[in-house]
């Protein structure tokens, strides 16, 4: 459980994070979304006590993280895959971390095997690793202490499709084990198949904190497609119920009603349906719409 309360961080005249309040609960994967420069990394650093908040507080498991003498058994974190020394081997890097937290040496081999860096790869110097391999090493370091809370900052960067699938499965499993899993990203599509809950921020302020499904429903682009031989009749019924219907032959695109409601209405009026499909790809649209006002670096913007 991560509790962030009225968190504010200012660097001189710049406010990186402003009055942020949210809770990340155990048992699910929570996505932490926002455009570049929204304050995600600053927030994660404050959760880990690396940066001191200007105002407000943040606790992990009810305590400020910096009050703990050793951290790995409480929070496992991957902030930046580059936060390693290229001259050490992956195994040596993890052995140092394990030793400092009094974690048995065998855990190093266990986590290396878990992230797919067992054997020769683990003995190679990190300097020669690809970004994907560094991400795997960072994830291994986060798992080292078997912690109840895990933080990942943009963990999918640099991973190949197989790696992305593996990471998603890993996050799901960690959440299913009752852990708190908090994953940041600037891409909604990355969260779509990963997160259950979402915390969305823009320009350091909270935009949304809710489940992925509720968030998706916010997007005005959310719709339902229906195929029926009696398209005209169904369109009338749905329009009466307040939906906006676009008709294209036997195909209706319905906005304003969810798939269940469309199905129920068709049944009540004895109208046969050949196809009923909610379109949830509007997640990206919902994200774009909500953060449009808070994008700091807009392509093509006059400066």
């Amino acid at each position: 459980m991560i509790e962030v309360k009225d968190l504010t961080k200012r660097y001189g005249a710049t406010t990186a994070v402003k009055d942020l309040t949210f809770t990340v609960r155990p048992g699910s994967v929570t996505g932490f979304l926002g455009p570049n420069g929204a304050g995600k990394s600053t927030t994660l650093r404050m959760i880990l006590g690396l940066n001191e908040p200007t105002a407000g507080s943040v606790t992990v498991g009810g305590r400020s993280f910096r009050d703990r003498p050793r951290g790995l058994r409480h929070v496992g974190a991957l902030l930046d895959a580059g936060d390693v020394h290229g001259g050490r081997s992956a195994a040596a890097h993890l052995a140092v971390l394990a030793r400092s937290n009094r974690i048995p040496r065998r855990r190093v081999d266990e986590v290396l095997a878990e992230v797919g860096l067992a054997g020769a790869a683990g003995r190679r110097r990190i300097g020669g690793f690809s970004l994907g391999m560094r991400q795997r090493l960072g994830i291994a370091a986060a798992l080292l202490g078997d912690p109840p809370v895990l933080l990942f900052d943009e963990p999918l960067n640099g991973l190949d499709p197989e790696g992305v699938l593996w990471v998603r499965g890993l996050f799901r499993r960690l959440a299913a084990e009752g852990r708190t899993v908090f994953v940041s990203s600037h891409l909604m599509s990355e969260m779509e198949n990963t997160a259950d809950e979402l915390i969305v921020i823009g320009r350091g302020e909270l935009i949304a904190a809710e489940s992925l499904t509720r968030f998706a429903a916010r997007g005005t682009g959310a719709n339902v497609t229906v195929r029926t031989p009696r398209a005209a009749d169904l369109a009338d019924v749905l329009t009466t119920e307040g939906a906006v219907v676009h008709r294209d032959g036997p195909l209706l695109t319905v906005t304003g009603l969810d798939a269940a409601r469309v199905g129920d209405l068709a049944c009540r009026h004895a109208l046969p349906l050949h196809e009923l499909a909610p379109r949830s790809a509007s997640l990206e649209e919902a994200f774009m719409e909500l953060t449009a006002d808070s994008v700091d670096y807009l392509a093509g913007e006059a400066r």
Binding site: R70, L79, S89, E177
Partner: protein
């Protein structure tokens, strides 16, 4: 050395009491963690592992040792090689003037030694900031002061052993060469042990200075410039003839080394005591360790 272990003991007891209250924490966490008590010696062991898991570490020490011992042996060999029969009559005067001791650790060698030790200390911390590893370290051990105390203790320990080794090897090899002309002295010779110890202990003083500056500046380039300035440039620009200038000179490690190794040298109108020189060593080491440990506590990482 003292500084590192002293601050280490403090933070070790501090962390032990803190972890006592940690039992039964993490309300609402579904996964329970059985956490052993935090021990300072785990941090020492981690820093030790961190040091020796880099290939550059043994190389840095080896190259420094070869260069320093090489300069000393070279000077002794030069004396041996160009020693003439005319000189032979002056052998007693040669020894009386302390020249065998001056050749046991030459001022050329000490400059290299000072710079190398300072750079090794600077790299320990500035390297960790430069790569970003420091964030990984502090996320694993939120007790930052304990981490830095462990770093300072390991650095002080390793550089003390290293400095002692280099100083003794320099002493015995140079005196063995000089003995070929009957002008070598033994360790029992008055002042001999002081030369060896002053040269040996200058190593941790310089290394801790580099580490403290690295902790403050966090950037390799500027840290090295500041280290060179503090250890070498500052002693060169102060004048031995002006009171305020001398006050500064008498508070710097390199002049302190000279005071300890060249007792016969003329220190101008403002002489200073041997005890004063040893105090400079102690104060620099303690202050550097204190800066290293304290300065990480409040700053953002």
């Amino acid at each position: 050395m003292n500084s590192g272990t002293a601050s280490g003991a403090t933070s070790a007891s501090g962390t032990a009491s803190a972890s006592g209250t940690a039992v039964g924490s993490a309300p609402g966490a579904a996964v329970t963690t059985g956490e052993p008590a935090a021990r300072f010696r785990d941090l020492l062991a981690a820093e030790w592992l961190k040091l020796w898991s880099l290939r550059s570490t043994p190389w840095a020490y080896l190259v420094t040792a070869l260069a320093v011992i090489g300069f000393n042996v070279g000077q002794a060999y030069d004396t041996y090689r160009y020693w003439t029969d005319e000189n032979a009559g002056d052998a007693d005067a040669f020894i009386r003037d302390g020249i065998p001791l001056a050749e046991a650790f030459t001022s050329n060698a000490v400059v290299i030694h000072l710079l190398a030790a300072g750079a090794i200390g600077a790299a320990t911390v500035a390297g960790e900031y430069g790569t970003g590893l420091i964030r990984t370290t502090f996320a694993a051990v939120p007790d930052r002061r304990a981490v830095m105390a462990a770093k300072a203790a390991v650095l002080a320990g390793v550089t003390t052993v290293f400095g002692t080794l280099v100083a003794f090897v320099s002493f015995f090899s140079t005196q063995a060469i000089l003995s070929g002309r009957d002008i070598g002295v033994s360790l029992g010779h008055p002042g001999a042990l002081r030369v060896v110890l002053a040269s040996a202990l200058l190593t941790p003083v310089a290394a801790l200075t580099g580490m403290a500056l690295g902790t403050l500046l966090r950037h390799m380039g500027s840290t090295l410039v500041a280290t060179v300035a503090a250890l070498l440039v500052l002693p060169m620009v102060v004048s031995p003839d002006r009171y305020w200038s001398v006050l500064i000179a008498h508070s710097l490690p390199y002049p302190a080394w000279r005071r300890l190794t060249e007792p016969g040298a003329n220190f101008g109108p403002y002489p200073w005591s041997e005890g004063g020189a040893w105090t400079v060593y102690a104060v620099w080491a303690l202050a550097a360790a204190a800066v290293t440990v304290v300065s990480v506590n409040r700053r953002d990482q």
